[in-house]
């Protein structure tokens, strides 16, 4: 299941709260509409105001009974899976309709009012009332389900866009790179030129992040461009060990999904170490999945300037969840002196 902030507790994810006024009003309106349809539709007794009044009172009373019951059932739904939850709700509604119609028929017969005389005998009346209630309830549940689904879809989409926007490159990186380029221009103009090209590629990708998919090949190239700039900045303190030759370059993945993980490795792992270290990027491919691990050494104590910055990782996690649901995996292994992130993506 895609997570979008709504707690995953079965049927209550999409079923409305029947205890609140707007829902009560909506259900009662639907009950009245059904009553009107039944009363207006051609029948041997024909239309009469008496019949409409009686049917309205009966219909609304039935609707209220069902609402109270559904409202009370909420704690039970919380513990049930969607399908048993729906079955339980429909069963409760059916039982109420059967009991209520039986009760009305008995009272009517006992008091001799003859209000239900034209509606067939006892069995017929109970059966038709129950069936109508069941059908209307099922239609309503279906409506709420579709509406919740649609709302969730819209919300998830909006969220994914926001998250992608947040994945854009950090200002620190921009200004540090500009500084690097400024110092390269007089002494090593060729390197400066290449750095400008690399930086442009990265920003082009960052500005387009959230607008769709890229390919694994492009993403790995972005990582290379990023590392090329950081290598200029950090000198020989940054060493990179890549083993990604076997990766399927044409696999579609969300743009700028992986680069932030490598940026984290450099920022929190290599930069705070006086002697630097090696960022290891390893990829393995199976017919079903692509796995990528990024591993870096890290200092015992996180420096103050880099502390508490887990937003990038959280960002990647959320985007993975949005795009792959349960099939995407992101695992963090933070051991003594090292940090490793393992990403696993389905190929289909």
């Amino acid at each position: 299941m895609r997570d979008d902030g709504i707690p995953s507790d079965g049927i209550t994810r999409w079923l409305p709260d029947f205890c609140v006024l707007p829902v009560v009003a909506a259900v009662m309106l639907v009950a009245e509409l059904v009553v009107l349809v039944i009363v207006i539709s051609p029948s041997p007794q024909g239309f009469s105001v008496d019949r409409l009044l009686f049917a309205t009172v009966f219909g609304e009373w039935l609707a209220l009974c069902c609402l109270v019951c559904l409202c009370r059932m909420r704690p039970i739904w919380r513990r049930l899976k969607p399908l048993p939850g729906v079955v339980a709700a429909l069963f409760a509604v059916t039982a109420i309709a059967a009991l209520a119609s039986l009760l009305v028929k008995l009272i009517d017969a006992g008091a001799g009012l003859g209000l239900t005389e034209g509606d067939g005998d006892r069995l017929e009346f109970v059966a038709s009332t129950t069936l109508i209630t069941l059908l209307v309830a099922a239609a309503l549940l279906r409506y709420y389900y579709v509406r919740a689904q649609w709302q969730r879809e819209t919300r998830a989409q909006a969220k994914a866009q926001v998250v992608a926007l947040q994945a854009r490159i950090r200002p620190h990186f921009l200004f540090n790179s500009m500084n690097t380029i400024a110092s390269l221009i007089p002494s090593r103009p060729k390197d400066a030129e290449r750095a400008v090209e690399d930086l442009s590629e990265l920003f082009r990708a960052a500005l387009a992040a959230g607008e769709g998919m890229s390919t694994l090949g492009e993403e790995l190239e972005l990582i290379d461009r990023y590392l090329a700039i950081e290598a200029l900045r950090l000198g020989d303190r940054l060493r990179v060990d890549r083993d990604i030759a076997s990766m399927p370059a044409d696999l579609a993945i969300p743009s700028l999904l992986l680069q932030p993980l490598v940026e984290n490795a450099v920022l929190h792992g290599i930069q705070p170490l006086p002697g630097g270290g090696t960022v290891e990027i390893r990829g393995t491919t199976t017919p079903e999945r692509v796995d990528l691990t990024i591993r870096n050494p890290r200092p015992q104590v996180a420096p103050a300037y880099a502390r508490g910055n887990r937003t990038a990782l959280e960002n990647v996690r959320q985007r993975m969840r949005y795009h792959y649901g349960e099939r995407g995996k992101l695992e963090v292994d933070a051991g003594d002196g090292y940090y490793q992130v393992a990403v696993s993506i389905p190929r289909a």
């Binding site: 200004f175 400024a182 930069q271 705070p272």
Partner: protein, 244 residues
């Protein structure tokens, strides 16, 4: 004016050095690759001004500035950072100015001018109250006239003696002029009071034992002898040792 620059990025140092070389009244006396080296070289070279990067390994620029403030003749600190989110913290650490990367020549000249005036007046910047909230990663001390930076993670215990506090660490001991009370507050999460005159690193606490004459001692891993525990601190220390 003698200037020292500290930045962990070789190209950033190169650029700053090139800019400074164009200024006739400035003499670049040295370069440091991290905050720790900046403090030690500043002690040795006595520059008038240190230009400090903030994001540096071992000791970041903000903490380095606090240690620089303890060197006898005042040193003007200019922070040089890629992005100005640190500006407020920079001024709390009593910098005379801060410049952003890539540094403009005119901006650097203006900052150095402020630094020159600062050294001219020869006053010590007051330590801002906000600083106490930031814990140091190193303790700065003087050993036979030389400045020494001891990583807090290497410290076994602090022992108060007369006007000084003796810092016992893995590599020996140094004297500092700070109060035990202030140290206790600053490092409340790493050190525990076991006696009126003693603070011990929690992670180095061993067991407690009682001598025949009824006095309590705590074993400190890495220390030569156990330290006495006062009656007052015993109950809370017992709880702590049990929890370890």
């Amino acid at each position: 004016m003698k200037v020292l620059i500290a930045d962990d990025e070789p190209l950033a140092r190169e650029r700053l050095a090139a800019l400074l070389a164009e200024l006739p009244e400035v003499q670049l006396v040295g370069q440091a690759v991290d905050g720790r080296e900046a403090v030690l070289r500043a002690e040795e070279l006595r520059p008038d001004c240190v230009i400090l990067d903030i994001a540096m390994p071992v000791l970041d620029g903000l903490e380095a500035a606090r240690h620089l403030a303890q060197i006898e003749n005042p040193i003007a600190v200019i922070f040089c950072t890629a992005y100005d989110e640190h500006a407020l913290a920079a001024f709390e650490a009593s910098a005379v100015d801060y410049v952003v990367k890539p540094v403009r020549r005119e901006r650097l000249v203006a900052a150095l001018e402020r630094a020159r005036r600062f050294t001219g007046e020869r006053f010590r910047m007051p330590i801002a109250p906000g600083q106490a909230a930031q814990r140091r990663t190193h303790i700065c001390a003087r050993l036979r006239g030389n400045l020494k930076l001891v990583p807090v993670s290497d410290i076994l215990y602090f022992l108060a003696e007369d006007k000084y506090v003796v810092v016992h660490h893995v590599g020996g001991e140094v004297l500092i002029e700070e109060s035990l009370k202030a140290l206790e507050t600053e490092f409340a999460d790493r050190f525990v009071r076991i006696h009126r005159n003693c603070l011990v690193a929690t992670e180095r606490l061993g067991g407690l034992k009682r001598t025949p004459d009824g006095r309590m001692f705590a074993d400190i891993r890495g220390a030569e002898a156990p330290l006495e525990v006062s009656r007052r601190n015993l109950p809370s220390l017992r709880k702590l040792v049990k929890a370890l």
